[in-house]
Symmetry: D3
Subunit: 287 residues, 6 copies
């Protein structure tokens, strides 16, 4: 079962809201390379696992971590959309039709369907599709599916990193890129346990992104999201928690899940999106 913490796993800061970047971020949230997919994929693989138990545990730990990444991205999208709110107000004040600005790159449903919020869809508004959740019942096939997911996912994250010069967004993405580095290694470590040889040179994927730009203290750390620290007694000699990393560029370690971010603070509803009156009046109310 699951628990939550109101704080984020890592801080999500947006210095200059940008609705177009919100649209791009949707790919990492609801696209085939995105976090909903890996979250459900790892959890379904865990729930369907018929042994060995050590892999089930690892899948649960990391599937739970991905849930926290979904949350971070949804928050990043909502914060970036506050840029739409400002320009909308300007447009309305200026008595201009606001259509062109809303439609010129922004996802129209970010205004029309959510009132400036994230959606379970990709960067073209195509809904998340459950067929992407792969769990074959064969541990090697599943691990390759996971390596593939983290490889295309890390490629995507580096592209998003290149698209923005918002320092807050670059910081968040450097954390996510680091976690993808680790998750790639983690699934390959299972393959190594199953007899796979030296895979160091190809890693991390992409290997053309300078690792100095990722948040390296998280690049080789397995994050244990189990609520009970004494619980993962199975899993002695887990390849992914100690010793050299698969890419030979770091040392694996294990850390207990904890929030590095704060509770998110979104702005109030944009008047033109017609929340209920009570929402508008009590937007900042904590009682």
């Amino acid at each position: 079962m699951f628990y939550h913490d109101k704080r984020l796993q890592y801080k999500v800061r947006v210095d200059k809201p940008n609705p177009q970047f919100a649209k791009a971020l949707q790919q990492a949230l609801g696209g085939i390379e995105g976090e909903i997919r890996v979250c459900l994929q790892y959890l379904f693989q865990a729930w369907n696992s018929r042994g060995p138990a050590r892999y089930r545990d690892m899948l649960l730990d990391t599937g739970t971590e991905e849930m926290s990444h979904i949350e971070m991205l949804a928050t990043a999208i909502a914060l970036n959309l506050e840029g739409a709110s400002n320009s909308l107000v300007d447009d309305l004040v200026g008595k201009n039709p606001i259509v062109k600005d809303i439609m010129g790159g922004m996802d129209p449903r970010h205004y029309l369907s959510t009132g400036l919020g994230a959606m379970a869809a990709d960067s073209n508004g195509v809904p998340f599709n459950g067929s992407w959740v792969v769990g074959s019942g064969n541990i090697a096939a599943d691990m390759y599916a996971n390596v593939m997911a983290e490889s295309t996912g890390r490629v995507l994250a580096t592209r998003l990193y290149e698209m923005t010069d918002d320092a807050g967004m670059k910081d968040m993405l450097s954390f996510m890129i680091a976690r993808d580095t680790m998750h790639q290694q983690q699934w390959l470590a299972v393959l190594e346990e199953l007899g796979h040889g030296d895979m160091s040179k190809v890693l991390p994927i992409p290997n053309s992104f300078p690792q100095s730009q990722e948040k390296q203290e998280f690049s080789y750390a397995f994050i244990n999201t189990n609520i009970d620290p004494s619980s993962p007694s199975v899993g002695e000699n887990r390849r992914w928690t100690e010793g050299p990393s698969i890419d030979k560029k770091g040392q694996f370690s294990e850390i207990k899940a904890q929030p590095y971010g704060d509770e998110p603070q979104l702005g109030p509803p944009m008047p033109e999106a017609h929340a209920q009156t009570e929402q508008i009046e009590k937007a900042g109310d904590k009682s």
Copy 2:
């Protein structure tokens, strides 16, 4: 952010595995009335929430609980599918083609694609679709969307309850029906805070299912999944944690999330589904 416990929120026991019932259960997991939908719906509403904070907290609490229900259903499906394994073996021993039995009511992908595991799909194998995740940015519209989701969800759960005479499955469903009872009330409690009047007579939906058959100790309890008990300091006078329930048939209370179930124990992989050799050899291995 999120944490997990290896134990289930409530016990999942299957006395007589039944692959056809596994297929039916998929509707409650990946269908439009299912748990993936409500989980993501409540969490996206929380993440997109622009106030008041009390509703954001409640959505986080219950969205997290639904994650635990997804896990229970996936486990129930995997356990029910073990019936396919047995009959497959019988058929193979009997030198009969096994096609007809596999295909005569079972979802073929439960064998072909997962090797006897759950999928992110409905009872016809149609994949979960992200478009079902509704978060409009208007709290009243969202609450009605949630009441609707819990109403169609509870109707579905009562129909599943009628379909089975497996005592373990009936017990699990009676818990889920009770939670749906509570969740219906919870969203209506928000509407009551927003000015909605007496909604007691229509509840719970369906009102034709005898409540004596639901696990009533959970029918009016708000389950707080926040990892920090002192955290939800906002939310004084929350309508959904004390006082008479919306249907006037119970008293609201608040309980801290805890596992009532155990760590699930699935059977070993079925040989014909060709897991890796190491999985078959070490299926029960806890090291």
Copy 3:
């Protein structure tokens, strides 16, 4: 069975065609909050209805009305797309590539696939999906599904209203917002008959949109689309045709369906979209 009138239920006038607004309007036509969904949802609920008959009749009446709304929106989209035609001609005259203008906010399929016409898709071009049509067989669950559909639908309509300063479009939307006001009440009236209490304060959803801007003569009128005025003899004391409205802001009445709009007059085909020669030559031909 069904009949049609060549005139529209309400007038559809576009003063300044705007292809970007056409794209936004698609959400109200083929999106999850849109008119195809509610039309089919109410009609399927009627066709599947196993009693009481009074609700079947009401669902048929309103499902049929929604068909007329689909028609209005499709017409509005086709008229707004005529703006693309003009700018295309300008661009061609100016010897400029027209790609950028076509693609800079307009749905490319509005030109490529339809030659300036409406599609059964949402504002991102994602096709209408039949899974959105909810009919559970439980009247209370269905009514909540309908309230939810009309709530998210009215929120959407008010957002579209804010996006445009075209007086014709604002007029059409003010009619549609009024009809959503009525339809919300209508489904809640069924819930009231089933025992639901005072729901006045939360209504209409959103309650932050000034009702003075909706076409108020249609805000509390049930439109009977039955071809035979004497037919709805069942349904005496129908809560939704007389007495105070659910929100206590109006009085319910019943009116016979009639066209308030004219037969739509679209412009001729745009030459670059390559209709058949005969269409271009006889575009205005009434013979």
Copy 4:
């Protein structure tokens, strides 16, 4: 705009309810060859029509007729599903698990999601998809799309006819096959007006189904669904209302739309599907 009549266009009688046949009928309702597709396709082509007006009118007439066919099929499905209800009761009385019977050929969602009702989906439960609605803006391309839709549709209807020995269902299908015969001719008549030559020998498609088994009084009649008999003043010399049919096997005529069927009478809700108590108590209530 649109009106309805509570009676069906043609009678829908099911002598022996058969849930498996209900599943097959879904293909003709929500599949790519089905009635929702042709209904929306003809109506969108009409709404997007930029001339000549005579074709717009014809498309409106026939699109409206298809709406009545959707209604007939939905009714036929609901009536066929009453067979599930009976066997369910038998099974419950016999204390047997009912899973196998429900799942052994029936669409599980016909019980789980609708409580014995029709869905906007095909015979595999795959939802209707708006991408199937083709309106290209070129009248010849559109007419071929319509001929194709009516050809695959009539092929489907003849296959359904062969699948059943229920006299009521055969009668309903013989009417629908006849209407498909006419609709094929109708779109080809437009192509003939546009210069297409003699198309008689290939028709109707399929030409291997004996026309004596179709309801031949409807095979060459254009049904005018316009509510105002004097309205279609445009359209003199319409090829599809007089003269020899395209296949030279009949004479075209025009008749005013009227119901040949009665108001449908579905059975009461099945108890195990948990409608609201009030629905069960008042199922036959006409007040």
Copy 5:
């Protein structure tokens, strides 16, 4: 079975790369009117063909040709996307955020998901859908489905032709328009063999596009893609390989498939898209 040639069927040249046009071209690749659809449709009809064999052969020939069209379009898209690369570099050099340019009309997934490559999706990024592949088992219905596909496909191609002033793209499209002219005639020739009369006047669809702008040497030539020239011994008197064309504007001929284009030469990977280092270093390497 199948073989390939590294050269293209016809030359694909892009004088001025244009990412917005790449987005539009996706409709002809992965949209409902596109080449993946016709390729699979003709091949499935061939593979499912139960006679006569002459039609099976023709379907195989043309289905294989469409495979070559898919390849041309994918290449055209990749070449047009190189425009994104240049402007990205400019933007980065200029220290500007590149988001707006990327998102202002380009498909964001062309950068995010493919690193400047084609996708199996339409111009809105909606994935190709297998339901569009029609093979009914009735040859007349199938031929009409094919005429419809080639009619909407040729309409689309003429619209794309109008959208661009790139001479290379116009040349490629004029070839594709000519092939669509031929393919329309080809399926109609089958219908003529089955008894269809003179269809000359309506053709080609659209008839409003000047045929002088299509590559007319390919407008009435059947391209035989069979690897063994002596193989198609069946099919004497094939209507589509000799004699006047169906539209009476040309003479049918048969030519052996051969590449008129060269092996495509794409530019190197764009650095910001993070290919592997080895790809960047060895981009032009032929060893």
Copy 6:
């Protein structure tokens, strides 16, 4: 560009037609693990390839081979469906309704939509979805995507092998399993060239299927589908055409593509599926 041969790549024989097995085979044709997916995935990766050219060539070769596998599976499905035809005839002769047999495990659309033919869909009738076609622009990510596709694909093929005792089908599947063995190695050979270490022990996936049951002469042979034998001059020292295989269980070789199967011979149309009369009369006609 592409060519075809009327003969199959490998023989497809069905000793005892079985419509239920036809349904299961659909997963390998149109499912996420299926041949349409790998065919398009390898070809799109080739068409989008920006170097090195040796990988582009290999992707083209193998993508073309997968096209031949699609053809084999479609043929296998059509042949297995002839079992439906026989039982249908029996049922009709026996004057029994044929519904139950058709619906009791067979895909209803195999009769209703195709008249006993294959579809571009999975084993639940869910259409093939273009989103499954992964080409990221990063060669390592793409190779892992391909390993994953061939791993889940080979797992699927071994499960299908276990489901049948038809000697013809087992023979065809043993060929396909061998090709999957080779294709897994092929993509891993690229990864080895990129620096990946010894991957022998984990292979082939699944490693629990006895390789003696696969058609071993094809297990380590690269099939060159290029029409010009002298063409692949690039690609000296290609890791996947000589030397020990990645799993160290064989030696790589290269063979020129050639048909090992014959031209397929399907039975005549089933009368109840209503092909055109001419198809039925001339089913075996080769003229």
